[in-house]
């Protein structure tokens, strides 16, 4: 059974050593997903697997058989950019842009976790039915995505604006 990447079928690699990240970049030429540290420390390679944010550098592509991958190329649509992409532009949430695809994929997954009520380390009441996406929550939840340009303030502002808009 193949996997689906941004809605299109993709064959599994014959060599099980191939990471999902290398399959995306080297075989499928989807260069939006970035290779930063290649060891799970930076978050630049973040993609969505069945809607959940994961690190493609530590995922073997063969483990994705029958599953659905969304990369930064798959977030927008015919009608234009994904609202989070628009928010990143609006809030100057990047300088060099290298971490940006991972930041945006991570934020999409994070927003879904918030809607589902997944707590974080800074959530005071674990039994609370809902969690407000305040800046402390957003910073903790986005700590797996590093930005060496230091654009974190813009990144959090963009995500906060998006979460506020999505809640309306």
């Amino acid at each position: 059974m193949p996997m689906r990447i941004n809605g299109a079928e993709a064959a599994l690699p014959p060599d099980p050593r191939v990471s999902l990240l290398d399959l995306l970049r080297e075989t499928l030429h989807l260069h939006g997903t970035k290779k930063g540290c290649n060891q799970g420390a930076c978050g630049a390679c973040t993609v969505l697997l069945d809607g959940e944010r994961i690190l493609s550098c530590l995922t073997l592509a063969v483990q994705c058989e029958g599953r659905s991958v969304t990369t930064i190329e798959g977030l927008g649509g015919e009608q234009g950019l994904h609202p989070l992409q628009e928010a990143f532009i609006e809030h100057d949430a990047f300088q060099c842009g290298y971490c940006t695809p991972g930041q945006i994929c991570s934020a999409v997954g994070m927003a879904a976790e918030l809607r589902r009520g997944v707590p974080s380390l800074v959530t005071a009441d674990l039994d609370a039915p809902g969690i407000a996406p305040d800046p402390a929550e957003l910073r903790e939840r986005m700590s797996g995505n590093l930005c060496r340009c230091g654009s974190h303030n813009g990144i959090i502002a963009a995500i906060a604006a998006h979460c506020a808009g999505a809640a309306e």
Partner: protein, 328 residues
């Protein structure tokens, strides 16, 4: 990465059969194993993918929880029963790694993750008794700020990196195993070994054994528990010291207590000396400090990590104080 054979199992018996060949390893989320393979520190001949095995979290007849070993870390942390009845476990998981890694990592894999000692990772330039038994340890005389202060040996001063396991150790979790010789179970506190003369042997697992589930006993005291992690930055870093604690205070005295430490030893460290010192005694800041000092009395600091003794002592006292305040 060296070549390997990949196979996927759908149930435990099949996984154990598939892993019968020499050099086979079970693969969970891959967040530690794939990294170690890329560094060629792990060179398995085969990977048996066990992420498709039981991942359900359900009530036991005894009133505890049984957690399928393939459950993802996020699934365990967000489970309502874990959040309300074992909050230190939810908080410990949420204190570990990043959200992406918690979405990938399985509970079984979290337990069996390996140390992040930098000398263990540096196979080009450092000696390590875990990688090459008998060659020596460069951490003992090296940069050892993050290393063990309790239970270490002249052969190894590495720490176990898991946060989740610290809470599991405090709560008397039991690990269910499947293996070539059948199923068995053991307390989590007996699964990880102290290094002794053989730090390359990290667990009491027999060859080919697979963790299938973790069982939490019914433990009312765990509803009043928490986890505190002290580290060099506010998020996404390993512990210098961490504390999982549950406390039951009645009429100003400690009716019962559970306490475990992370970041200080080769295994999640159940603090039985401190528990013993606390039970039945006054629930006061002074008594918390005395109990913490009793636990740290056998600590043996290295060149750079002596600060952990005072840090652990203060963190234990602070967490117990927080829980006592909550109980009052």
């Amino acid at each position: 990465m060296t070549p390997f054979r990949y196979a996927r199992a759908t149930e435990a018996g099949e996984a154990v059969r598939l892993a019968a060949e020499a050099g086979a390893r079970y693969l969970g989320g891959g967040t530690n194993l794939v990294d170690l393979m890329r560094e060629t520190i792990e060179r398995p001949a085969a990977l048996i993918d066990v992420t498709g095995l039981a991942a359900t979290i359900k009530e036991t007849e005894a009133g505890g929880l049984r957690i399928g070993a393939a459950a993802r870390n996020t699934a365990l942390a967000e489970h309502r029963a874990v959040r309300s009845r074992y909050p230190a476990l939810a908080r410990a998981i949420l204190a570990g790694a990043s959200a992406q890694i918690r979405n990938m990592a399985t509970v079984g894999g979290n337990i069996l993750q390996r140390t992040r000692c930098t000398y263990f990772y540096d196979d080009a330039g450092a000696r390590c008794n875990k990688r090459n038994p008998g060659e020596g340890c460069d951490a003992i005389d090296g940069f050892n700020r993050s290393h063990a202060i309790l239970g270490a040996s002249p052969a190894c001063v590495a720490t176990h990196p898991s946060d989740m396991c610290v809470a599991l150790a405090a709560f008397d979790a039991v690990v269910h195993l499947a293996g070539p010789a059948g199923a068995r179970q053991m307390p989590l506190t007996e699964l990880h070994r102290l290094p002794g003369g053989h730090p390359e042997i990290e667990t009491a697992l027999r060859p080919g054994e697979l963790i299938t589930a973790i069982e939490l006993p019914p433990l009312p005291i765990a509803a009043r528990s928490t986890y505190r992690k002290v580290r060099d930055r506010a998020s996404y870093a390993f512990a210098l010291v961490s504390v999982a604690a549950a406390l039951d205070v009645r009429d100003g005295r400690v009716a019962d207590v559970r306490l475990a430490l992370g970041g200080v030893a080769h295994k999640p460290w159940r603090a039985r000396r401190a528990e013993e010192a606390l039970r039945g005694g006054p629930a006061t800041a002074a008594a918390f400090r005395v109990a913490a000092e009793a636990e740290l009395a056998p600590a043996a600091p290295l060149r750079d990590n002596g600060f952990k003794i005072e840090l652990a002592t203060r963190t234990i006292a602070a967490v117990l104080g927080e829980l006592a305040g909550e109980a009052a």
